[in-house]
Symmetry: C2
DNA sequence: TCGATCGCGTACCGAACGGTACGCGACTGG
DNA sequence: CCAGTCGCGTACCGTTCGGTACGCGATCGA
């Protein structure tokens, strides 16, 4: 929900909060600009004055949703300096925690990628950048562990987090959370024991 | 693409093939019925005579897409009778193979769930049923392995397949395929060695 | 006090959506 | 030869989509 500190009018602020809530609950394409405007109690032109278009609003939303995940690497580094294993656990735990939010509907970034299949679409471009950035940071972190192929392990961990987020919306968040921590533990053990 | 053997008019047949292709390439919501009709060279009423509505067409599509995955359990059972480990490998390999199809855009069922967030929507209902059925069959299969908690392993495997399908569309199918086989191997080993 | 500026909402736009009324033309049984 | 049926496409329906022209009212500097 962090909004990059953009200065905005009161009406624009209500639009932003409403859009975040509606997008989170129903996805982006399912929500029309008229619905956002009505729900937030402002006219549509106010929406278009503060955000140039629905696409721009969607990009801002998706970027804002990614902030916490990306920053979790910095948070972990500061909380457990010199302990990459603890940092990794923190990053994974953050995903597990997020899955516990009521009405969790899966990773917003991944979902948005599905909603915008055209890779040239500005929203999709932003999504792909964010996913690549996450994998980059994860790989960087895993590289500090004593494993032979950190890139492979990082990719596998990303897959697991992605899968946990996805299954959480089909079955129960509890099972996905439990399976995520359990499986990442086993996998990391497997990579660590192979080459200490 | 198997179509449950429904008998259909020539026009309806062209509609069906076109719809499958367009849905696969661009998703369901991105494709309008007019586009399907025009691309297949038939009028819209032909579409509505053969399929009652776009939703019905989408349900048929999503069911058809799920057939191969669900049948892979039967195929595996016949190919490797009495060898649940080989059967499991076959089921997982099928997912890896599917990920290799050009223009792969992730699991159709999972993607459709994102496109229809409303759990009461008929398309979403069908999707949820199919996912539950897949997990049911997977759990049944894993239960034949000598592991303590087959339900947990099955859930983890489903998570992995889901994650591999999802990451394949962000990064490369090759990495996801490799990571899927590698990670499932390690995970199954981990569960088998714990309690032979 | 007046005039310019600014944020705002009403009312509207063309396009695209899912879905349908209706009439044409080709077969088929008598 | 003809009447009924069946599959089909043209042309249209109302609704909703994202986006905009425009005028109102409050605020603020002179």
């Amino acid at each position: 929900m962090a909004d990059e500190g953009r200065t905005r009018s009161p009406a624009g602020d209500r639009v932003w909060r409403t859009a975040c809530e509606l997008f989170s609950r129903e996805g982006i394409r399912s929500v029309g600009v008229a619905e956002i405007a009505e729900t937030s109690g402002v006219g549509k032109p106010s929406l278009y004055r503060n955000f140039g278009s629905k696409d721009d609003l969607a990009v801002a939303y998706v970027r804002a949703q990614a902030v916490e995940g990306l920053e979790s690497f910095d948070v972990a580094r500061k909380a457990f300096p010199g302990d990459p294993m603890a940092q990794l656990r923190h990053v994974i735990a953050r995903v597990a925690t997020e899955m516990g939010t009521p009405g969790y509907r899966g990773c917003v970034i991944a979902n948005t990628a599905i909603e915008f299949p055209d890779r040239a679409h500005p929203v999709r471009v932003a999504v792909d950048e964010l996913k690549a950035e996450y994998l980059r940071r994860l790989t960087e972190l895993v590289s500090q562990l004593p494993v032979r192929d950190p890139g492979e392990l990082a990719y596998a961990l990303q897959m697991l987090m992605e899968g946990a987020s996805a299954t959480a919306q089909f079955f129960t968040t509890e099972r996905s959370r439990a399976a995520l921590t359990e499986t990442t533990d086993r996998l990391i053990d497997s990579y660590l024991s192979a080459e200490g």
